[in-house]
């Protein structure tokens, strides 16, 4: 079967291209060579379990890992600037003027826990209008009008009254919406969302996911969406990158990935998610063993100790390279992918 991604071909030129990104915290490498790109109007989901490096990757793009961590190698190519030349964000000073000018109108981020991302001592209105006045040069009055529009757009009832509300006066879902409005304040070209619905109840999560999908469609934003929930990926993503221990082990358009996962880790992850449909499983499929620590990475393929298809003398010795399928839409990092990608 040929690949069918979401029927929005052809793939436009990327807005962001990340090549060989490595991020280290002291002696430990949390991201060990990651490549991906995102085009405007598209959603790339980075999915993986805790400690796989998905959040660190997202933060590195915003250059928010310093000073605790360091981008040690790779390029973060930004095509969203005025010039035709891409700008390498990895080469910029993380606290310098260029990077600061980019955060807000270029790229913005939303987080899992709005209560710790929102300021407790500033009103929602202050937090919304500050970036507009700073980056867009709007007057107080114009910024307030835009703030009201944005709050209404993200579905906050009675938006004008909410301008003077503090974060603690809003419910969880409303806080998450307020944070999305703040991220959208300067119409960013790229929205980075780090588990924005994980702390929400399912009905609220459904509303927030619908909202994000709508915004991407309407505004033509690109979105990098970090999650551990494959259900969310299936409902929202155009492309999916599965991460394990600091690497992308498989990347593919969303239908291809769910229809025919190639990497044994992707296959195991998909099996371990219980669905609401189909026969009820007697037992859930688990992945045996534990995620190894970054301080003691196994030799060869890092997944081999938990992989049911690992071959002795190969997977426990050689680190697999990333291979792409003929159509170039899918990449997999596995020695044995030929053997069992049916």
């Amino acid at each position: 079967m040929m690949s069918e991604h979401t029927g929005r071909d052809p793939v436009p030129q990327p807005l962001l291209r990340v090549e060989g990104l490595r991020v280290a915290f002291g002696p430990y490498e949390a991201v060990r060579g990651v490549d991906f790109s995102i085009a405007p109007g598209r959603v790339l989901c980075l999915v993986g379990e805790s400690g796989c490096g998905k959040s660190v990757t997202a933060r590195a793009v915003m250059r928010l890992v310093e000073p605790a961590g360091r981008v040690t190698a790779g390029r973060i190519l930004w095509h969203g600037g005025e010039s035709a030349e891409a700008m390498d964000l990895a080469a910029l000073d993380s606290r310098g003027r260029d990077m600061r000018a980019l955060r807000g109108p270029g790229m913005a981020m939303i987080f899992q826990e709005p209560m710790s991302a929102l300021s407790p001592v500033h009103t929602i209105g202050e937090q919304l209008t500050e970036p507009m006045r700073l980056h867009l040069g709007l007057s107080r009055k114009a910024a307030e009008e835009r703030a009201v529009d944005l709050l209404a757009r993200v579905g906050i009832p009675n938006p004008r009254a909410r301008l003077s509300a503090y974060a603690f006066q809003l419910s969880g879902g409303m806080r998450q919406r307020a944070m999305i409005a703040i991220a959208l304040a300067c119409s960013p070209k790229l929205l980075i969302a780090d588990e924005p619905t994980t702390a929400l109840d399912v009905t609220t999560q459904a509303q927030v996911l619908d909202l994000l999908a709508e915004l991407v469609r309407e505004l033509g934003m690109a979105m990098l969406f970090i999650t551990h929930d494959l259900g969310v990926v299936a409902q929202l993503g155009d492309e999916v990158a599965v991460m394990y221990l600091g690497r992308i082990v498989e990347r593919a358009p969303v239908f291809d990935l769910f229809d025919r996962p190639h990497h044994p880790y992707t296959q195991a992850l998909l099996r371990s998610v219980p669905s609401l449909r189909g026969p009820r499983p007697r037992r859930l499929a688990a992945i045996e063993g534990l995620v190894p620590s970054l301080a003691a990475l196994p030799p060869g393929c890092v997944f081999h100790p938990r992989c049911e298809r690992a071959a002795a003398g190969l997977c426990d010795r050689d680190d697999p390279a990333e291979t792409a399928t003929a159509d170039g839409l899918r990449t997999v990092r596995c020695h044995r992918v030929e053997a069992f990608a049916s």
């Binding site: 996911l209 929930d229 259900g231 990926v233 299936a234 929202l236 609401l276 009820r280 688990a286």
Partner: protein
């Protein structure tokens, strides 16, 4: 089919006084409102609902953390015989029940004392209940229990920080099961775990349940997990039970509009369902538990509400097929299903 219950809740209500600001009079928050439910021996009963629906408070009432404000909790004695009222517990009764009803907590990091070794943690219930004899005998029992939950016996010499989330949850399970309880209340016991590890722990609980004949009250919010793990499911909204049904049935054809809404909101791991799944968008928010709506608690948000729902509160009514729903429309919904 309907076995005699091992645990029965009768109109259990738990209220908390809440003071909003120092000048106002305290208001009454009804966290659990008149819950009546039979728990059958050997079953896994799921209790689901969104945050603030009272599922955790209900679990705590059963374990004995809070005595309910009103209503009764009844337990079948170990030797069979008639149900015994365990609503009000003095120290002696609480100590006795602590053998029968144990709890597994959500947070594998917060629920284990970091200054105790795994041996101390798992052996503590034995010591408190004056069981187990000398150190060597205790160690034997702890070692056996650790093996049962899939940990090596030498884990007992180490401290909780040396273990991952999934391993800590195994330690919590060992502590809960070492006294050989009959009922386990698992409050979001796998919610903090990664998917691959979550499946390991659920399978472990499934094995232990068969081996030890446990009855499990599984409090959770992940409906996929609840469907796979539970025999029956009780759905709570605003402190009330709105539906109780066998898991298979509940997920196939929900009887209460709120259950339907919940199921429709779950993002399913299948991109083909994108846009096809009819998502029911709920209006408004969960009502303030201090200002409960009149009539049915769900009526202000219910897509199917009519006049009667605004004025009269429906009771949880059995539909005769092992299912019960608290909804004036359940007959209508049923015929449409």
């Amino acid at each position: 089919m309907t076995a005699e219950p091992i645990l029965a809740l009768r109109e259990v209500t738990m209220t908390f006084p809440v003071r909003r600001g120092w000048l106002s009079r305290p208001a009454v928050l009804r966290a659990v409102a008149g819950v009546t439910l039979d728990v059958r021996p050997g079953e896994v009963l799921g209790i689901v609902g969104e945050s603030g629906c009272g599922k955790t408070t209900l679990g705590r009432c059963i374990v004995g953390v809070h005595p309910p404000t009103s209503g009764r909790i009844l337990l079948r004695p170990r030797d069979g015989g008639p149900l015994r009222d365990i609503t009000r517990r003095d120290r002696a009764l609480q100590a006795e029940l602590a053998r029968d009803i144990r709890m597994i907590f959500q947070d594998p990091f917060g629920s284990l004392n970091p200054r105790l070794t795994v041996f101390d943690i798992v052996a503590e219930p034995l010591r408190v209940h004056g069981e187990g004899g000398d150190r060597a005998a205790l160690e034997d029992r702890v070692a056996a229990m650790l093996e049962k939950v899939g940990l090596r016996p030498d884990a007992m010499r180490r401290y909780p920080h040396a273990f991952s989330g999934g391993q800590r949850q195994r330690i919590g399970i060992a502590r809960a099961l070492i006294l050989g309880p009959r009922i386990v209340v698992a409050d979001e016991a796998v919610s903090a775990l990664d998917v691959s590890v979550r499946a390991q722990i659920l399978n472990l609980l499934q094995d232990l349940r068969e081996e030890m004949g446990l009855t499990i009250l599984f409090i959770g919010h992940d409906l996929g997990v609840v469907r796979a793990f539970c025999d029956r499911v009780a759905v709570m909204y605003c402190g009330e039970l709105v539906e109780v049904a066998p898991a298979e049935e509940l997920f196939r054809a929900p009887a209460h509009p709120y259950t339907e809404v919940l199921l429709s909101a779950v993002p399913e791991p299948d991109p083909r369902l994108r846009g096809q799944k009819r998502r029911i968008v709920l209006q408004g928010e969960v009502p303030d538990p201090l200002a409960r709506p009149s009539g049915c608690v769900f009526h202000p948000r219910c897509p199917a509400a009519f006049d009667r729902c605004r004025n009269e509160a429906p009771e949880l009514t059995s539909r005769g097929d092992g299912r019960a729903a608290a909804c004036w429309r359940h007959e209508v919904v049923r015929s449409a299903a």
